[in-house]
Amino acid sequence: MTLLNAIMLAGPMEQFEIMQIIPFHVGNLDLSFTNSSLWMVIGVAAISLFMFMATRRLSLVPGRTQSAGESFYIFIADMLRGVAGSEGMKFFPYIFTLFMFIFASNLLGLWPSIPGTPAKWHTFTPTSHLIVTFALGMVTFTLVVVYGFYKNGLGFLKLFVPSGVPILMLPLITIIEIVSFLSRPISLGIRLFANMLAGHLILKIFATFVASLLVAGPWAVLSILPFMGNVAVLLLELLIAFLQAYVFAILSCIYINDAIHPSH
């Protein structure tokens, strides 16, 4: 019963609350180690462990872990080569890291919290915060801008000047192209953040339905319905955890391709 009470008392937004684990302040800057940082560290540790296990005993006929690791490698490598060509393969480490980090964060966030632990040790999804996903989007954006200018010099600006446009329309079109370009990190960030936020909200709300039906006397029978719903949503969330990491990675590939071949 105490567990049920805890489920009902906590609002659906409480799972997104940032809590300090190790407070650390420099002047006005709050650099505390929070639950978000903790789950990023857990994500990175999980990826490192997985990749270490996968590459520990390399053999020509791969074992289970090795072929799992290899299929991640092949998946990302094929995607990047398909979008940006073999020239884009120099960005493979970045795209692979990006994909694995987002995937691990999304997936680990679906892990249930240990009942009865203080809120700051609860499971947390770093990618459910706009600032995190936006920062990841900005890394891609910065990479594209810096590499685009480094590779093409001022020719990179051709990206904003489509060919075959009447001279009268050119200033307007250029402004629109620039806005479209600037909106990329925002749309990357919002998409991932909104997906994660929405999924976790739905899970929590369905869980609240289950809990409140369970204490409603004879109506407790009906609690199986939201419970089944929650199972279905959780399965969907597993798919979304992968899908959004994939979408983020493939869009990064598309944008990097723009930096390599800047002409529309």
């Binding site: 629109i176 909106s183 749309s187 071949h261």
Partner: protein, 112 residues
């Protein structure tokens, strides 16, 4: 050692350069090339989210830029409205591009 099983299968000879290729061909033949690895596995849900955010992000960026200009120049609604207008145009452009990318038979596109 190596010579002993040479006649049976040569895949285990580490000095044979082509052994992986031959194994790959054999596997591909056994699979009957039904498995084409391509990144075009967008689900409908992914597409929907993609288009929605592409449409929304541009007006937000342009609107924020307009608002910034207005704050600076003290012409409040003017550049905000222009910005949102341009933002919608850019959003439509983004959506059109995203749709074009999603088309299954794009065949490396006609740009460049």
């Amino acid at each position: 050692m190596v010579m002993a099983d040479k006649d049976q299968t040569s895949y285990e000879d580490p000095n044979d350069e082509d052994r992986l290729d031959r194994l790959g061909q054999k596997i591909a033949k056994a699979r009957g090339e039904k498995h084409e690895t391509g990144p075009e596995t967008h689900s409908t849900l992914g597409k929907g989210w993609r288009l929605a955010t592409e449409l929304v992000a541009a007006p937000m960026v342009a609107g924020a830029m307009g608002l910034g200009l207005d704050r600076w120049l003290g012409t409040l609604p003017l550049f905000l409205l222009i910005g949102i207008g341009i933002g919608f145009a850019a959003g439509m452009l983004n959506v059109t591009r995203a749709m074009k990318e999603m088309e299954p038979d794009k065949g490396d596109d006609d740009d460049e």
